[in-house]
Symmetry: C2
Subunit: 238 residues, 2 copies
DNA sequence: TCTTTTTACTTGTAAATACAAGTTAAATAA
DNA sequence: TTATTTAACTTGTATTTACAAGTAAAAAGA
């Protein structure tokens, strides 16, 4: 893990504003302080402030409008967990539970893995875990995760119950998901999957295979996710 | 439609480089000319060049590496058409055919539309079309599109056979898709869908409902897409 | 020959400045 | 009062300058 000795100014402002948006200090539709105001508030010049705002806009936290200002968006782009939208009404995060089916363990990669692996990844194995995520006690996601084993101290000992994997990676290891690729399929539920998701066998299930890039060169996070989309839809932004 | 009288310099450079990448003049893995070289070549200063490169990077055309340069990416981020990846091997675009099931017509919006509509949208109706897309003569996508009717001259007369809707919007109307949201579901094929996609009834089908934002304020493009994912997966970047 | 250091290149960060262009509300004129 | 103009904001575009930091190859040393 390479930690830069100095964090750029625009990055600091980005983090502050991002936090304020996530914590609800700025809410959906609010105007951020103008660029000149931010310059004064944080002692930066406008190009630096603009770089922070531009990054926020790219990450989907704000929209910029010439002549008006920077408006806080309704939702950041989902890259970590998938969000769900009910067919009847919107659902908050409060009813989401995470059940650990298999605690994180260090194992060699499976043979014929869903994505090609680099030599370095192959040598060092992966951290493997299985989780079941329930919404209102209904199982929605069956999530199999593989994390490249690039020196993440004590990761196998961490508590993942009701916490986002990506939150932990970000807060404890400064690992951030920068993007990735995924494959989607509608498949009939296997007997295993139908048992976990409490569905009849052969009912349609959404299957996602994802490879996620991180800010650490060479470190990727992989997921194989089976979704029960009978009651809820998978919601995403792009 | 508001067409700016002057196109910014950084935008011109963006378009040139984008075109070169799409046409294969720069190929995957190639290094673009350095920022200073681009400055000389196109008579701009470095911040201007950097703005163009930054936009290209955000759109997924290049990756930037400090100390090395700007490297052409394997694929641009898909936001328009969905790309597919075969389970056995990669597939080029050459076998993709588009069949018009229903030519574009101007109609009022359906009742209880899949996304909430603005008042302006509701008043002006929508351009409606249905298309079937085949890969190696196998039907893969059944695509229902709705375009807000905001003065797109002669759109109902255009030929959409084997051309991307988004290509036409971009080239003829300067309409570009900036992002959007989508809902995903795995559903059993209805009798209609199974007939179009040549599947057995109740076989799993991937259903996407998308709302796409454009660079024109107030103009959105909506799609309801049914995918046969038996042989191919839907591939996407994020 | 092989290793280390230097050098020349690359992109990254940052400041100071200027004007263009879109938006909004206040001031003005009818 | 109503419509128009103006002014004061906002973000957008662009130049110039400077140094930091990462990369790779050439040069120097062992």
């Amino acid at each position: 893990m390479v930690i830069p000795r100095t964090i750029p100014q625009y990055r600091k402002l980005y983090e502050v504003l991002r936090k304020h948006i996530l914590e609800g200090i700025y809410r959906e539709g609010d105007l951020l302080p103008s660029e000149n105001e931010l310059c004064q508030l944080y002692g930066m010049t406008r190009p630096t402030v603009r770089q922070a705002l531009s990054t926020l806009a790219n990450d989907g936290f704000i929209r910029k409008h010439q002549g008006k200002g920077s408006i806080v968006n309704n939702l950041p782009r989902d890259i970590g967990i998938l969000s769900v939208s009910g067919t009847t009404s919107a659902v908050g995060d409060r009813n989401l539970k995470t059940l650990i089916i298999r605690k994180p363990v260090l194992i060699p990669w499976p043979e014929r893995f869903m994505f090609p692996l680099s030599e370095l990844e192959n040598e060092s194995g992966c951290i493997y875990m299985e989780r079941l995520r329930l919404l209102d006690d209904v199982p929605i996601f069956y999530d199999i995760s593989y994390i490249g084993n690039i020196n993440l101290p004590r990761i196998t000992a961490r508590q993942f119950e009701n916490r986002s994997l990506f939150q932990i990676l970000r807060d404890h290891y400064r690992v951030e998901i920068k993007g990735g690729e995924q494959r989607l399929k509608a498949i009939p539920a296997s007997s295993d999957i139908s048992r976990f998701l409490k569905l009849k066998k052969n009912q349609p299930v959404l299957h996602l295979e994802r490879k996620m890039e991180t800010n650490i060169p060479g470190l990727f996070v992989y997921s194989s996710i089976f979704c029960n989309t009978e009651k809820y839809s998978i919601f995403g932004r792009f």
